[in-house]
Symmetry: C2
Subunit: 414 residues, 2 copies
Amino acid sequence: MTRLGETPPLHPAFSLFPVVNGTLSVGGMSLSALSDRAGGTPFYVYDRAKMTERVKLLRRHFPSEIKLHYAVKANPMPDVVAHLAKWVDGADVASGGELTVAKNAGFSAAETSFAGPGKRPEELAQAVEWGALVNVESVREVDILTRLAEELGRSPRVAVRVNPDFGLKHSGVKMGGGPQPFGVDVEQVPLLLAEIGRRRLTFEGFHIFSGSQNLQSAAIVESQNLTLELAIRLSAWAPGPVRVLNIGGGFGIPYFPGDQPLDLAPIGENLRRWMTPLRAALPEAQITGEMGRYLVGEAGVYVCRILDRKVSRGKTFLVVDGGMHHHLAASGHFGQVIRKNFPVAIGNRMGEPATETVSIVGPLCTPMDLLADCIDLPLAQVGDFVVVFQSGAYGFTASPHRFLSHPPPSEILV
Amino acid sequence: MTRLGETPPLHPAFSLFPVVNGTLSVGGMSLSALSDRAGGTPFYVYDRAKMTERVKLLRRHFPSEIKLHYAVKANPMPDVVAHLAKWVDGADVASGGELTVAKNAGFSAAETSFAGPGKRPEELAQAVEWGALVNVESVREVDILTRLAEELGRSPRVAVRVNPDFGLKHSGVKMGGGPQPFGVDVEQVPLLLAEIGRRRLTFEGFHIFSGSQNLQSAAIVESQNLTLELAIRLSAWAPGPVRVLNIGGGFGIPYFPGDQPLDLAPIGENLRRWMTPLRAALPEAQITGEMGRYLVGEAGVYVCRILDRKVSRGKTFLVVDGGMHHHLAASGHFGQVIRKNFPVAIGNRMGEPATETVSIVGPLCTPMDLLADCIDLPLAQVGDFVVVFQSGAYGFTASPHRFLSHPPPSEILV
């Protein structure tokens, strides 16, 4: 935590959204107009054009053979998923609830895959009935799917989610390498593949995912190389041709002071080099990248309003009508070991000089309800808008809305 | 985090609930019967008799002059609040939503107070219209209440929430002393009292709260002494007699290995010694203790079911159908700096010897979804019940239910 009087290092400039007459504008609307549209503060607003730009940016860098899937868990708002359904090639879901959202948003079963370390039998049935691809993560799931094949007279589509023997270096979240509840250890995969071959299951390929929220392209390149080599190696044990190869994502966005945006160029170049050897080794394989946060994280902001200004023993608090119950990650209680400030601004005083050091707190009776600790901002007044950037992913749904029984935030797509 | 192979220190024995034929029983019902009642796992179950016992225990130790309030934020389930309304003397609420719950549960406006660092104008209006006591925490709130007094033709009841010049030592959560968004710094209170005296407001007293989740009675005794001395000192500036004096709570419950239950005896004795000097100094003052977690925390358990057993590189994972989206505190992401395991058991194998070391994880695609890390448990099977104790407070409502779009847990009171 930054101590009183210290000046924290500066955030990277977040200039994704235009400023009109000193006020931030999202999707061509001012914060006041957005607040009216949302029914007042607090609210999340997502900019569809920014998501589309992100998809296009990835397509420019990636070989055209690579398909792009949206990881619904990053932001399952139905309007957001429906928008992305028009721009990406498929969806990856992590629950039966997300599967329903993807289906309703217009994704096809053929292009939807379902992963998760603890799939309930009814969720597996839902996926099989619809015809989605199930990324199996244990022998038990293979058994349940075999039973469902009998019951439903289907041949469920399966891929094996592999827990590789490497992790994605320098990741915000490590999910591969070492003991993991995710996927099947690579050492156990050949046995599981043989078992799948003996069941009434349609083997389609592999899902290999080693980490997320990574800002270092060299680490992503290294992990993609290891992933592709591993897929080729594992294909020798496969009960049929590899048709699907989900190489995960792991692409991060900058949140904190010092973070630099990910450089896509070396990742794209490396994937291009892989296309020829991949065609030789896995001629039928469709390579898919899975992106959640990278597509939607920077396209969303959380907006609340200042209720009160309080000075307590030399420290200035801006008390706002939103807080950790709406945006757990910004409060620092969502996987961070050391709390850091999200990028925050007074949305109707953009460009005004930062003349005071303040902490921004919510209405909850707990010191955890802190949106920004000792940051330099323009002199703000009651009624001003506080904007938290980089809030389009793992914001609304990853927060304890019912904590202290305040109204939940609203969500709008513009 | 405990490393693979290390044996963590043991939890205190949690023998609050009886075991019948090896299965935990809550409110006279087995886990299977409870699961049926709840519509399946995962669910929270709260035992009304345990809450009543807690109230009675406090009454035995406290002087009879002291009133007991329930802090609704700890568990706002309407059935729980309605049960406690029959046993305690009043309610403390932290939002307009909680105020509605308290009112519907049968608490009277006369015995309900409303605190919070960021009360919205409509919440203040709701409190004034009903006639609840508002613990004011800033000059702005005094201004809004003055305006409401005119508009509604009322004289709003107010107490001053004081940010003392001391904190509660050894607290899990420090909320007094130093710069705080909570309450008004004691140095500023005389000025605010003078201001209140000039407005159309009914001054009733003070709310002095310095921390929570404390297990050391000596620290609570010291803090209560400082609180009572401070209230007497501040009463010299009060615009009228002190009728209400909320001395907070701060009473903790044991969660982690090494935690010992709070010893109420010295706290009760100390309060008894205070009754005579308090009657002399503040003859009209009703002393109130505010308890949330202490009344309900141990009365509730979270119950989920094992979906899968997985061994990955020598580490055994029990994958359950609940997790951090239902019980954020048990996952270690609710204010803990270092993650510790909540007390956990295989609810249908109580008393069986602990023969394996396992980690209990939920169905979410994130390493944060961890309910217990490397604990020793009896050999458990798919379908067994996993019980998380000490889950009656800050469990259900303090969790991000929508994260990854799984169904929310249900809640039952037995």
